[in-house]
Symmetry: D2
Subunit: 154 residues, 4 copies
């Protein structure tokens, strides 16, 4: 029984409505490919991505910095309330086969750094581009497609 | 949309076949009540409980101490490879609404201590009984039933 | 240049004045042997042990569950504010060559479990005695002496 | 009794000899101001900075990703072997009043992101400059001076 692919969506809480729409579409694309969506479990990009995944019947995991599962957004199926603050950013990345960054600020940057250090596929969609090695995408569909290609699933 | 109850099964890797059978039945009982099974993701009690849950179509999460999802037992649906060693014991307990200890040694003891500190329902089945406050059960069915009662779900 | 021995003092915040006096003496005995005192950095047993160590010129490290160094007790030289809650209990034990438990409740129990799992010398002074393998002491001097003997330093 | 200032030095293991010389001088400058040097405890920039601090009698703390204190570089006074992998990067930043990045790769980038998120003074010396808000310095002395000024100590 093969495990499902796990794809992370990382990004901030205070983002524009345009970025939220992109995040929702990223979540939908991930779920439509049968992968589990991993995220930080809070609002903003995390909530939009989970909503997108749930609209098409996907499964969502929220690895929270806080202790209370009640702080997970309503589209998280499985909350993991670590109580570890930003140290949970490392757990998010360790739990993913590939990652898509959508918008985001310094928390997202730390997660992108962990993904690059670990060497898993990472695509930036309207997010940080601090390095020549960052792969960028122009659309949610392209972002998800690149990540799945690099995992060897598309 | 109500989140599913999340029940932890904690216990060791080197346990008797009798304890493994109990753990498998605990896993099955949890899944039959529609709850998500949370565990440490490795072998022994963790694997037996996940196997029991999967036999009846349940969902299993393995919060691993190591960095590699490949070390999860084959019955884990969603591996969370924390890379944090035994510090992940705290995350397991933080992710549960209630916990059942089956057999186990010092790792299990640390998790029972965290559960008591957090104040979530905890039942011991052939496991540690270091304190008058520890609730014990004689059978898997009784153990799961007590935990669900204490959560207010039975 | 040999590193100094690092000895943990674990115990709770709400303890009797008798236990606080024991903890202070444990801290003093550790510092007088030239070891660094490691603790959880908060009040109660942790503060009393740090105070004892500082009275004789020792060095104290507080590995805090919270994010703010300001919550360390005033006798902590080096605060390590992990922001990781009780998961920091594992870091405390990982940082010690030996551990003395003085009083304490479930948090202390989790740390004793981690110490036993790691296999480092552990002595219980008016604390948990859940297992035949727990070594107990009748006085602070005896507790510290046993731990140093077991490390091979006395 | 005022606690000492704690300054982090972050940077990679595989760096040029020029960067190592800068790191050593940064460590010396920190120690000469009476601050405790916090780092990741391993080789490269971390070891060079600790060596610089020890040459002038400073105090050094190594917050290690691994479980063994023996992996700390020989200039670490107080090893904190977290056993938490890169999640310890968050603990390093949480333990600092200010941070200096010297060279470094993705691990360093994650730590810079955490420092910016936390809002503590951060100076980059031949390290990442991914954002207009990153303050850079041309020399170790300037880097340390800027951090102390921003903490309000110079």
């Amino acid at each position: 029984m093969a495990k499902k692919i796990q794809i992370g969506v990382i990004g901030g809480r205070d983002v524009s409505s345009e970025v939220l729409m992109l995040a929702e579409e990223v979540g939908r694309e991930i779920a439509m490919r049968g992968a589990v969506l991993i995220c930080g479990g809070l609002g903003g990009v995390m909530e939009a991505a989970c909503r997108g995944a749930k609209k098409v019947g996907g499964t969502t995991v929220g690895i929270l910095p806080v202790l209370s599962a009640d702080e997970a957004n309503p589209y998280v199926d499985i909350p993991i309330p670590t109580g570890m603050g930003v140290a949970r950013n490392a757990i998010i990345i360790n739990s993913c086969d590939g990652v898509i960054a959508v918008g985001g600020s310094y928390g997202t940057l730390s997660e992108m750094a962990f993904a690059l250090q670990k060497g898993i596929p990472l695509v930036s969609l309207k997010s940080w581009k601090f390095d020549e090695s960052i792969v960028t995408a122009e659309s949610p569909k392209e972002a998800v497609s690149i990540v799945f290609q690099r995992i060897g699933m598309e």
